[in-house]
Each structure stands twice: as C-alpha cells, then as structure tokens.
C-alpha cells in the first residue's frame, strides 16, 4: 500500500464499512503491450469529460471530441497530428498530447510540439480546419463530410446561441488550452511547462499537465483517476463588474480591474471571415437538390425584403433585430439547416417586466409558430 492511494469503501455485511486501498498499475512495465499512447487517446476520445478542464477554464461545463490524430500543418511543409482535439461548450478548443513517459521522446520536444499545434490551429481558416477534422483517425470521432464544428457543438450540454461567435474569436486569438496527458509525473516536463506559463504569462494560450493514474479495482476492473499536475496560477485578484441595468443587451458592459491596473473594458472582435449570402447560397446549391436550392433562394429573397438585419458568421447567416447597438438573432441558416431562436438572456430580461404587453407576447414565443402556422411540437420517436 502506498501513501495517498485511492480507497474503495463498501458497506460490509455487519453494517460497518470495509475499505480497500487500490493499488497503482504501472503502464510502464508488465502491461507494456496493452498500454500504448493510443490507449490514452481512445479513453479521451470516448470519454472526453474525464479531462479536469475546469481547473483551467472554470466556465466550461462539457466537452466533446473533435477527433483523434487530427492532421495540422507545421513549418517547412511538414504535417503533424494532434493526438486528441476536444471542443468545450463555451467555445474553447483543447489540444491534447498523450505521453507515456517510458517513450524516450525528449520532454522539450513534446512541449514544443504541443505549442506548434496550438499555433497551427489558430492560423487555419474555419473551412481548412474542418477539412482537417474530417481527415482524422476514423476510429475516433472525425467530423462527417456534411458536418460542421457548430453542428457538433449542438450536442454539448450548455452550448448556447453565442457558441459560434466565441469559438471563432477564441480560435483566432489563440485562446486554446494545451494539455499534456501522461501516465505519471515527469519533473522536467513540470518544470518546463511551469516556466512557459510564467514567461508567456500574457499569452492567451494555457498550458497544463494532467496525470492519468491507473488503479486496480478488485473483482471489477481498473479505474482511471485524472489529476491536474500543473494549472495556470492566478497572477492577481480581479474585480469584475457587470452592468445589467439596460435590457436586451447581447454584449453586457464588463469592467475588469485589478491591483495597480486601470479599469479596462475588453471589446469582442466581430466574427472573422463572415459568410456572405452569395457564398452560403453557393454552398446550399452544391449540397442540396435543385428544388431545395430554389427554396433557399426564395427564403433569402424574402428575408432581404423583410427589413430584418443580416449578420454573417463563419458558417452561417443570421437574420434578426438590431437594437441599441446590439444584434438579437432570430433565424439562422447554414448549408443544411434552418433554425429559429431567441437568446435566453433577451427572453429573461423581457419576461422580468410582466406588465408589458410586448413581454407577454414574447413569453408565449415557444407556441408562437405552432399556433400560427405549424403543427404543435410532438416528441420524436426514439
């Protein structure tokens, strides 16, 4: 029994407790054939929520896999492959390099490689990024030929209608979490990653180490216990003030201040490479039957005449309302689908004023389309 081992506690037959200390299984010795780096990759690909990602980004609520062995361009026309690429519900990407330290790869090389992957991903266009996701290992979760990252994100609990904007901004700014997931602690890697986080403290990239401890679970199998070895240290205490006095604000005013720092108000960049109507119609024409393409032509023509405001995102176009410097999307169209939405924040803000006839009308919005011209929503058959 080693100190600090996980303990399995069960009720015994006499109403007391029985405890069994779990013994650590080394991935380096006896099971060398069984536990390769692809073992770690498969675990992360199938169960991405095993990664303790909230140690780095506390706002993340769920993760999904975007694939294993995702090819990315490196310098000198070389190509590398990201072991695991994960997507978080708040729009962050998580790049994972898996490592069994018995493999004699130099620590510096692993760390440098992971940094290169992060840089490469932030420099790709969205289309090129998605093309590469489709080329990842077919045993993982590659993007399907007609699937986009935004569509994959809709499977994530917590992903909201702001996802596409945030995903684009985080990726372009390089706000990516880089993790080395390994079977144990390698002190030189810990020192190196710690040093990188200190010297590039102002960089948007976050770097961390996660250990997967493998333990025998008597009569059942084995259990993996993930542990964060190195997380970003909080450099200073900040006060965040959020101004919610005005209603229907898509982008609330956020003032951040800290010790010896003047208050500053970060501004969100507009989406990069917004899709034009012509480009989206071209995609719709290339991916759908002729009569569907004509239907889409009519739909866009009607929206153009409607007086609603149009906004292009990297993979879709939205029509909505521009109010007080904000934009509230209502209808969104991508190359395959069309959907209707009202941002929850707008709905909640309007519902607060119960006496308002306008807010009463909006409260009934889930039934609005159903009552006017659609059939009432029914449960889909499993």
């Amino acid at each position: 029994m080693s100190l600090g081992s996980p303990l399995l506690v069960q009720d015994d037959q006499r109403g007391g407790l029985a405890g069994t200390s779990l013994s650590h299984v080394s991935m380096n010795s006896a099971c060398i054939e069984k536990y390769q780096e692809c073992f770690l990759q498969e675990i992360i690909d199938q169960w991405p929520n095993i990664i303790p990602v909230r140690d780095f980004y506390p706002s993340i609520r769920s993760l999904c896999s975007l694939g294993r062995e995702v090819p990315v361009p490196l310098s000198d026309d070389r190509e590398g492959s990201i072991d695991n690429l994960l997507l978080a519900d708040d729009g962050h990407l998580v790049i994972i390099e898996t490592k069994l330290w018995r493999n004699p790869e130099a620590v510096r090389k692993v760390v440098a490689q992971t940094l290169q992957y992060g840089m490469a991903v932030s420099q790709l266009t969205l289309e090129e990024f998605e093309r590469r996701l489709r080329r990842s290992n077919p045993h993982g979760h590659p993007l399907q030929s007609d699937e986009t990252v935004s569509q994959r994100a809709r499977e994530l609990p917590g992903a909201d209608d702001e996802f596409e904007d945030r995903f684009d901004i985080f990726r372009r700014r390089g706000e990516i979490l880089l993790l080395i997931v390994a079977d144990g602690i390698h002190q030189s890697a810990e020192r190196l990653v710690g040093w990188i986080n200190e010297v590039v403290g102002t960089s948007p990239v976050k770097f961390g180490l996660v250990e997967f401890g493998l333990y025998d679970l008597p009569d059942v199998g084995r259990v993996i216990i993930p542990r964060t070895l190195l997380r970003i240290r909080e450099a200073s205490r900040h006060v965040i003030a959020i101004d919610l006095r005005s209603t229907v604000k898509e982008q609330v005013q956020v003032t951040v201040s800290g010790d010896q720092e003047l208050p500053k108000t970060p501004e969100m960049d507009p989406p990069a490479n917004p899709l034009t109507e012509g480009e989206l119609l071209e995609r719709i024409h290339s991916r759908n039957h002729e009569d569907i393409a004509k239907l889409a032509d009519t739909l866009f023509s009607e929206f153009r005449k409607s007086g609603l405001t149009e906004r292009g995102l990297p993979a879709s176009i939205q029509y909505g309302v521009a109010v007080a410097g904000d934009f509230i999307p209502l209808a969104t169209m991508d190359s395959d689908r069309v959907w209707f939405q009202i941002p929850l924040r707008a709905k909640r803000d309007l519902e607060r004023n119960d006496s308002s006839p306008a807010s009463n009308g909006l409260t009934a919005w889930p039934y609005f389309i159903g009552q006017r011209m659609c059939r009432i929503p029914t449960k889909p058959t499993p």
Binding site: T247, L308, R337, V338, D349, L362, T378, K379
Partner: protein
C-alpha cells in the same frame, strides 16, 4: 410546418438542436415563416422601446 422542439419535449434535451429541420420542411411555407419571424422581431422592438421609455 416545422417542429421546433423545446427541451422538455424530447427525451434528451441536450440533443434538441441537432433535430432542427432541414430546408425542405419550409416547402410552400417560406413566406409564412418569414412573416412569423418579422412579427416576433416587432414584439422584441416594442419591448425594447417600452424598456427605454421607463
């Protein structure tokens, strides 16, 4: 015309968005759909004006 599922209408609320309809669901109903979206936009504009006048 199209089934826009609410979270409480489906067994797994996390997957409601992936059930959104494809374009063919709007066949012969494009004008009605746009008209409904425009009406909702008017409701929102009205609410914002009310809030601004308070």
């Amino acid at each position: 015309m199209a089934v826009f599922y609410r979270p409480e209408d489906v067994p797994d609320p996390n997957k409601t968005n992936s059930l959104n309809p494809r374009y063919q669901i709007l066949r012969d109903k494009v004008s009605a759909f746009v008209e409904a979206v425009v009406e909702i936009a008017e409701v929102i504009r009205g609410a914002v004006e009310e809030a601004a006048s308070l």
